[in-house]
């Protein structure tokens, strides 16, 4: 078999090559890694064949295979252990005892069943860090969830009201329906809307809510406050959970600002850049930047206390990986990073 004459097609028609790409056969992996090293002139073709393979197989890479395989090993090992536990049995108990305990079990089962049928399991959509999720709600509204976000529908959604709960960031395009208002609840703030396009950023961990209005009109109400804030398009509402330290008079709980636009693109607001595959940030602290990178790429970042945390960052990245963003940070001076296993450390 003269693989040297192989073109991209030929590699992809070879079963062992495909196994090597997917990382499912150690023998194949061994062979092809050695062969590639021995034939550097074919490296480019092999790389292209692999890229095409991953597109066609749903992005199942050796990394993914190894991770899933590990999960399988763990679950299987646990399963085997549980199977080996000896079953304790004792026939000493008298009959009345056994009948009584069976009746008690039955009552408990009935109670659980009744409880379960009462509480409807709420419909939930969850996106993993580093991944966006496009969701179509039953009423025709679409939501794009940014990384590490959870959207929960309220009970009786689309009957008399449309209530959703958001922990994370979502870009909402709401289906117009005056009779059934659509409300997003996040971190104690309610954003009511009728037929509108807006972005809500409210990660529970951040204790802030930012909502940017693109089109339409929304009304925002806060817990314990009577007033409602009305937003017009191109405005955004920013709310921070008041800490014990700051006085409400000096630091108001919320403000209304106009949407920001980066120098490169006046038309689209920075706040919704993430829906266009662009990671943008405007005048944020290092801590916030690290959080954004974590959520966007699904990586873990730690900031050592030796790192310079003062200063604010502005920037925009399209189709980059976390290393490129961190390299830019490093080039800007004052901040360095290293990788320790799965964690990126900024120092």
């Amino acid at each position: 078999m003269d693989y040297q004459d192989y073109g991209i097609n030929d590699f992809l028609l070879d079963d062992s090559f495909c196994q090597y790409c997917a990382g499912i056969n150690p023998v194949a992996t061994d062979f092809w890694q050695n062969w590639t090293n021995a034939h550097p002139e074919k490296a480019s073709d092999i790389a292209k064949a692999r890229s095409l393979y991953y597109i066609l197989n749903g992005q199942i890479t050796p990394q993914k295979t190894a991770a899933d395989y590990q999960v399988m090993e763990d679950v299987f090992a646990r399963h085997q252990q549980e199977k080996q536990l000896p079953v304790k049995s004792s026939n000493i108990r008298p009959l009345w005892w056994r009948l009584a305990s069976m009746a008690a079990c039955l009552l408990v089962v009935i109670a659980i069943y009744l409880h379960k049928t009462k509480t409807q399991s709420a419909q939930q959509y969850v996106s993993a860090p580093g991944r966006k999720l496009k969701v179509n709600l039953p009423d025709g509204t679409t939501v794009i969830l940014n990384g590490d976000s959870r959207l929960t529908l309220g009970t009786g959604f689309n009957k008399s009201a449309r209530n959703v709960n958001l922990d994370g960031e979502g870009y909402f395009v709401v289906k117009h329906n005056v009779a059934i208002p659509f409300t997003v609840h996040a971190n104690g703030i309610s954003i009511k809307d009728v037929g509108t396009i807006f972005n809500v950023k409210a990660y529970h961990a951040d204790k802030t809510v930012e909502t940017a209005l693109i089109e339409g009109k929304i009304a925002i109400s806060m817990e314990h406050k009577k007033e409602e804030v009305l937003l017009n398009p191109n405005q955004k509402f920013v709310w921070r959970e008041p800490s014990a330290v700051s006085l409400p008079a000096v630091h108001p709980a919320y403000e209304v600002k106009t949407l920001t636009h980066t120098a490169t693109d006046k038309a689209d607001a920075t706040e919704t850049d993430w829906t266009r595959e662009r990671l943008s940030f405007n005048n944020i602290s290092l801590k916030e930047l690290a959080l954004s990178i974590e959520r966007w790429y699904g990586v873990k970042i730690q900031i050592e206390n030796t790192a310079k945390t003062e200063g604010h960052f502005t920037g925009s990245f399209t189709h980059s990986n976390p290393e490129q963003v961190l390299e830019a940070l490093r080039l800007s001076g004052g901040l360095n990073y290293r990788k320790e296993g799965d964690v990126i450390i900024i120092y």
């Binding site: 991209i8 028609l13 495909c18 196994q19 480019s44 292209k48 199942i60 399988m72 679950v75 920037g315």
Partner: protein, 207 residues
């Protein structure tokens, strides 16, 4: 798709409960079962769990398992059942319906899948354009071979064609798609990265 001549051997070892047979069976069918799960249930996150759950259930009943000629088909049926059970228990009736419909015939939604790919927008557009120029037959076979990881024998049987024809169709499809990769350089610094690092340099000047 590991050496199919050994498939019968793995299944027998699994039935006998041999050491390592579970892992072996998982490895042999991982790609096909995972992607099938992801496609039918619509959830990539839960797919691995459901595959493992299916195999565990079979493992527990291994002494009652039949001798099977077409192991992959058998496993796909079992996985499908697991998915239905999951959704029934969550009372999502519309999803159960659509899962049953998805069983064999619906074509994989490549467009939706492409949109989620983490590659450059420009390349995605080009590639998808080329992909759409393929015939329905070509797209179907690509999905069967690479996404569902079926062997050419299995593809031939399922589509009612010869193994040779299946090969030719896939080869022809790859011929079209490979052109999108030719002339592209897989190395080199991303120009975007250079431009945006300038933004940070301005930050350092201001600070």
């Amino acid at each position: 798709m590991v050496d199919k001549s050994n498939e019968a051997g793995t299944w027998e070892a699994f039935r006998r409960g041999e050491d390592g047979a579970f892992q072996c069976l998982y490895r042999e069918h991982y790609v096909g079962l995972f992607n099938y799960c992801a496609k039918v249930s619509g959830s990539r996150e839960m797919a691995n769990e459901m595959v493992i759950e299916t195999l565990l259930a079979l493992w527990d009943k291994r002494d009652k398992l039949p001798q099977v000629n077409k192991v992959r088909s058998y496993l796909l049926t079992c996985v499908h059942f697991t998915i239905l059970q999951h959704y029934r228990s969550e009372k999502r009736r519309e999803t159960v319906q659509s899962i049953s419909e998805n069983f064999t015939d619906s074509v994989f939604d490549y467009e939706d899948y492409f949109i989620r790919l983490e590659t450059k927008e420009q390349f995605k557009k080009q590639f998808f354009k080329a992909f759409n120029n393929l015939t329905a037959r070509q797209k179907e076979l690509l999905e069967l071979r690479y996404y569902l990881d079926l062997s050419y024998d299995e593809i031939a049987e399922r589509c009612g064609i010869t193994k040779r024809t299946a090969y030719n169709i896939v080869f022809g499809a790859l011929d079209v798609l490979k052109k999108e990769f030719e002339g592209t350089d897989t190395q080199g610094i991303d120009p975007h990265f250079l431009i945006f690092s300038l933004l940070f340099l301005t930050f350092s000047l201001l600070n």
